[in-house]
């Protein structure tokens, strides 16, 4: 955004109000910059950083004795309640924030100022179409076509497309002209095991009577591209009624009688408008409901879980058909919302590659960014310039992330990533700090030259890969995820996302985070034990104790492991394994070895950074807590550093001590 839009870069004496009324107000200063809105407490270490892109709506109340209230609702579900003592100041801040939240032009979002010249451009090459399709093992019955070179046939598709190799250009052109916005059926997933494929498209311009011989032939060719089964399942993700309504507008769905080889299925996934109001209700329930009955009723009436279930059910049907060897063609209306959701979720269920951190990014690049999900419009990256714009907003992508989370929750060991990864993706789909989710389609991104003017989110995520690892991932154990339970009782509210900033509501102790820390600690301890062993051997040799000494170390190692397991075998409570606390026994290593903490601080009470100079309060449960390898205490990201040999992560205190 432009600097001149900021009417008030700084407002003092602002009170931050605790939404739940549990804590007293915090007095501080609000700074507005071109990239962030920052609240900083005058006393104490409370800080809130809010990327401008995340500002959803700003509401101002009327002036009262306490001050003038200002409520910022954010797109990542943070709600900031402020009280400002002067009405005029409040109005100015209000206008500034509104300006911040609605840049007039996509090129004025933060991402364009965030570019680092030396940045590694690998993030922009996450998806190479050719590489991905050869990874999938696409057979010779499919081929690449240049029909969309320079986006001339379909401006919302990528330039490279894969179609049955028997399809000639006139046939493709015929199909393109018969499909809404030229989004004709193209390959997105090839199932190597049996040659079945997923193709996606938009609705046909069928109306009540129109036919297109090319489109019909093309569908037959898609069937023939499958070596084992010519029948193709045509899945219209819309409720039948909606599809009928579209017929009146000259669009609609394929008539089974005209297509020799299709079987049609309809799924009741509602449109973007229904999903928008549904999410508003679910967010409201998570933020406001005070009693159990009120909460459950509100969740129920939002219909959100029902929607998640139907999207998952449809995706499961696609995945199941593919696994059985039947190719599927999927469309909704334009083929960029519901189609993207179901097609990509089906691939997640089928292909373990898409359940890795890298593969998941490829999946998003391919089926969301590549095939033209309108992120600009759906996420409201820029302010409305026409009346239609507010109707274009819809949480289609975050709904899909929610579906992924539901599946993740059912089969956590099948995923390389953790919940934090999904939450981070959700935030940055909106934040506009990176170029990845800007633009409505591939051609938009190309004309904005995003890859040279902005940073890629993937590069940022790569640099924090450790944050997103799932400690329970078992890559080899899961193939298809077709046995997931999709009964209504399996779908629950994702409070980790919707109540992300309500510290008090989320579980205080989390097995994913603690186990990840344990694994990290185990690695360090293993290295430390090895070092100690070497040092012992060395010392013993110096002292002239040779072989027998060595043997005693070995014998001891056997004993050590048995005594370690005592806590369980011997049925004493886990406390009985005594491990020294911080700093004890440190005399062992003076001048010999780097200190290593045997005990790591538990996450439970770590609400803020242990550094006395920092004291940064963690703003959410999902924020990564980092342990210093030497003292074992928990710090925020800013207060720990990797040592020059990149082997250790240490806090400033320990670093200075050495």
């Amino acid at each position: 955004m432009r600097f001149e839009d900021i009417l008030t870069p700084r407002v003092d004496k602002v009170q931050l109000v605790d939404r739940w009324g549990a804590e007293s107000n915090i007095c501080g200063t609000v700074h507005v910059t071109t990239s962030h809105v920052i609240f900083k407490a005058d006393e104490g270490s409370r800080e809130i950083w809010l990327a401008n892109g995340l500002i959803g709506t700003v509401e101002r109340g009327s002036l009262s004795v306490a001050g003038c209230p200002l409520l910022i609702r954010c797109k990542h579900f943070m709600q900031i309640h402020l009280l400002i003592n002067r009405d005029k100041v409040c109005q100015e801040l209000y206008e500034t924030l509104v300006n911040c939240s609605k840049p007039t032009n996509i090129e004025s979002v933060v991402a364009f100022e965030n570019r680092d010249q030396n940045e590694d451009a690998r993030g922009w090459k996450r998806l190479e179409w050719m590489t991905e399709f050869s990874r999938q093992g696409v057979s010779s019955s499919w081929m690449k076509t240049d029909i969309n070179a320079n986006y001339k046939s379909c401006d919302t598709y990528p330039e490279q497309l894969w179609v049955p190799s028997t399809a000639r250009t006139p046939l493709l052109e015929g199909s393109i002209s018969f499909r809404s916005r030229g989004r004709f059926p193209v390959l997105t997933y090839f199932h190597r095991t049996n040659g079945a494929a997923i193709a996606r498209c938009s609705q046909p311009n069928a109306g009540f009577r129109a036919r297109c011989v090319e489109d019909e032939t093309f569908m037959t060719l898609i069937g023939k591209a499958n070596p084992h089964q010519e029948i193709v399942y045509l899945i219209d993700t819309r409720p039948m009624v909606n599809a009928m309504v579209n017929k009146v507008q000259g669009k609609g769905f394929e008539d089974e009688r005209n297509y020799a080889n299709i079987r049609s299925y309809f799924y009741d996934i509602e449109n973007i408008h229904v999903m928008r109001s549904s999410q508003i209700k679910v967010v409201e329930a998570c933020a406001r409901a005070k009693t159990m009955t009120e909460y459950l009723k509100a969740i129920d009436s939002s219909g959100w879980l029902k929607h998640l279930r139907i999207v998952t059910e449809c995706s499961l049907f696609i995945a199941d058909s593919i696994a059985k060897g039947i190719s599927c063609v999927i469309h909704c209306s334009d083929g960029w919302d519901r189609t993207s959701q179901t097609v990509s979720l089906a691939q997640l269920l089928l292909d373990p590659f898409f359940r890795t951190i890298h593969g998941f990014q490829v999946l998003i690049e391919k089926d969301w960014l590549g095939f033209g999900h309108k992120f600009d419009d759906r996420c409201a990256h820029i302010g409305a310039n026409n009346e239609e714009a507010p109707k274009e907003i819809s949480p289609v992508f975050s709904q899909w992330l929610d579906c992924v989370w539901q599946v993740w929750r059912m089969r956590p060991r099948a995923f390389q990533f953790n919940e934090r990864f999904l939450i981070e993706l959700h935030e940055h789909a909106y934040s506009c700090q990176y170029g990845t989710f800007l633009g409505n389609c591939d051609s938009d991104r190309k004309s904005l030259s995003l890859s040279t003017r902005t940073k890629s989110l993937w590069t940022h995520l790569d640099s924090r890969r450790d944050d997103f690892l799932n400690p329970f991932y078992e890559p080899a154990s899961f193939g298809y995820l077709l046995d997931i339970d999709i009964r209504a009782s399996s779908f629950v509210v994702w409070s980790g996302l919707y109540n992300r900033f309500d510290e008090g509501i989320l579980p205080r102790e989390d097995i994913y985070n603690s186990t990840m820390a344990t694994i990290e600690h185990v690695g360090i301890l293993e290295a430390h034990v090895a070092q100690l062993r070497n040092k012992l051997v060395e010392l013993k040799q110096q002292l002239g104790k040779s072989a027998p000494g060595n043997a005693s170390i070995m014998a001891d190692s056997g004993h050590g492991s048995s005594s370690g397991a005592e806590g369980v075998d011997g049925i004493q409570s886990p406390t009985s394994v005594s491990i020294s606390g911080f700093g004890e026994e440190s005399g062992y290593c003076e001048g010999l070895l780097q200190p290593v903490a045997l005990k790591w601080m538990s996450e439970r009470d770590a609400t803020s950074c242990s550094s006395p100079n920092c004291g940064f309060e963690f703003t959410s449960r999902s924020e990564r807590r980092m342990h210093c390898y030497r003292c074992g205490k928990i710090f925020c990201r800013r207060c720990v550093h990797l040592t020059s040999d990149e082997r250790e992560r240490v806090c400033n205190l320990c670093n200075n001590a050495s």
Partner: protein
Amino acid sequence: QWAAGQQKIDPPRRRMELVDAIEIPRVGNVFLRQGPRREQRGSLILMGHHMIFAPQADSSNDPNNTANKEEFCILHRMIDRVVSEPRSRDPNSKGGILTLKCKNFMICVFEVLELDECMAAARTIETLSNLNGFSLDYPFFYRCPFTILDDGWRAFDVESEFARVSMNAPEMFRVSEVNKDFKVCASYPEKVIVPRGIGDDYLRISATFRDGGRFPVLAYFHRHTKSPIFRCSQPLIGPTNRRCKEDETILNALLSIARGIIIDTRSKVNAQSAKAKGGGAETQQCYSQWRYVTCGTPRIKDLHDSLAKMVDVSIDKSVSSDRWLSRLASSSWLSSIADYLNAAANVAQCVACEGTQEVPVVVHGGEGVDSTILVTSLAQMILDPDARTIRGFQSLIEREWICGGHPFSLRNAHSAFAEGTITGPYEAPVFLAFLDCVWQLTQQFQHSFEFTEGFLLDLFEHSYASEFGSFLGNNEMEKQKHQVRQHTVSLWSYVNNPEILKSYVNVLYEPNESVTWPSVAPQSIQVWERLFLRWQRDWTEVNAIREAAVQWRLKERQLASKALSLRRQLVELMKEAHLAKTLNDVRVAD
């Protein structure tokens, strides 16, 4: 799972009455269509205390056949409802279907070839699962297969609890034997802890003023704030506004510097309407130094209905999205859990909030044996780090629930399925609601409780049907009358057996002294899936995650203690090296 299965031979002491009820001792060729395992053919054997399903010997030698060849066994007491019906409407078909709905929400469906046999089996099971009284119950016939190292009946007595309290509060309380032979209060144990300055005569008079004679007794003492929690039943104020000076004196004896707080676990309306029936609540005039607060929790009848609805919706396989949430909401089970947690958190806050000192809290509802006990014991789970250990939790249940006089025999006679004449007005899953609340705490604090989810589930099952005597009877008086302590094995003797205890230890437990303040917001309360969806869902994934976390934790501990011992060796060696060097230096100097 069915611990009873380990010991199937009924001792010769078996009474004739049980045998008489068995109309058919064996039903051959039945087909298990639904139950604790996959479909299977076999036969049913009906015995005095349990029913055994014996799988048919497999004639085919298929090596891929992984069918479970073990028998399984269900205590008759575990069966909540028996349904037998013809297999089809066709009068020529002879087969019948026997459905057993268990108190742990498991449903077993057997297809029986002959309808007559099916009906006979159903009648037998129905009779044996609904015997009046508990003197013929399995615990009296159970022969303990293990040596009892730590007798659960002796592990937790009032004296040792008093010793624990007195350490931090000398001169504040005493053990009273006013209830010797249960003369003052039928539902209290013979020894109770009361304020030191109060004589037994006062207690006797107060008992006449409290519902069921439940005068105020100590439930918990907070060692840092010195605030005690007392519990009792409602005062019998009645429509004539009775008062009792002695009762007031007892409460006032608890006060020192601050005003006390009386927390009523009934809603305001219920507390007021109780007055017309002879009960009521402490008035401001008579208890002027006390603040009276209501923290409404469900009435036991409502709680019972709520469980029935909750189980009904959770076992419904076909339940569609549209109905699941609305039925979940209308069951009110989660609301009840939230209410209890809220009440307990309030009690805990009064006792342990920052800056408060010596604020006595008195908790009561109506009779003081249901929500009162639930709230006081849950408050202890929040406040007391000891209660979060396995042994402390046992002690809490023994003290508050078993000795405290929660009427287990009445409340747990049936659970979610039974209806009609076999049920009475007294059934209510109060103890289960407590376990659910504790489960909610363990979910919010996965590293703060020494026991596992499995322990809570086993306690739930044992509280309904068990080979152990702990949950028999409604109070200590009944236990004594039937000599439960002499003739049965305590559940704690079993649990504390090292081999068994091992399976209940939560390896992820990290002891800590702080208060586990729960979130009672509706967004934080979850469905206890392992309880309600236990028989509907596959748990491989959950178990695997838990196991992996446990293995990593063990490895971490093992390495840390290894590192520690190596460090010690290193220090020793360095001392030696230093000494050697010094000696050498001395020698060189010489």
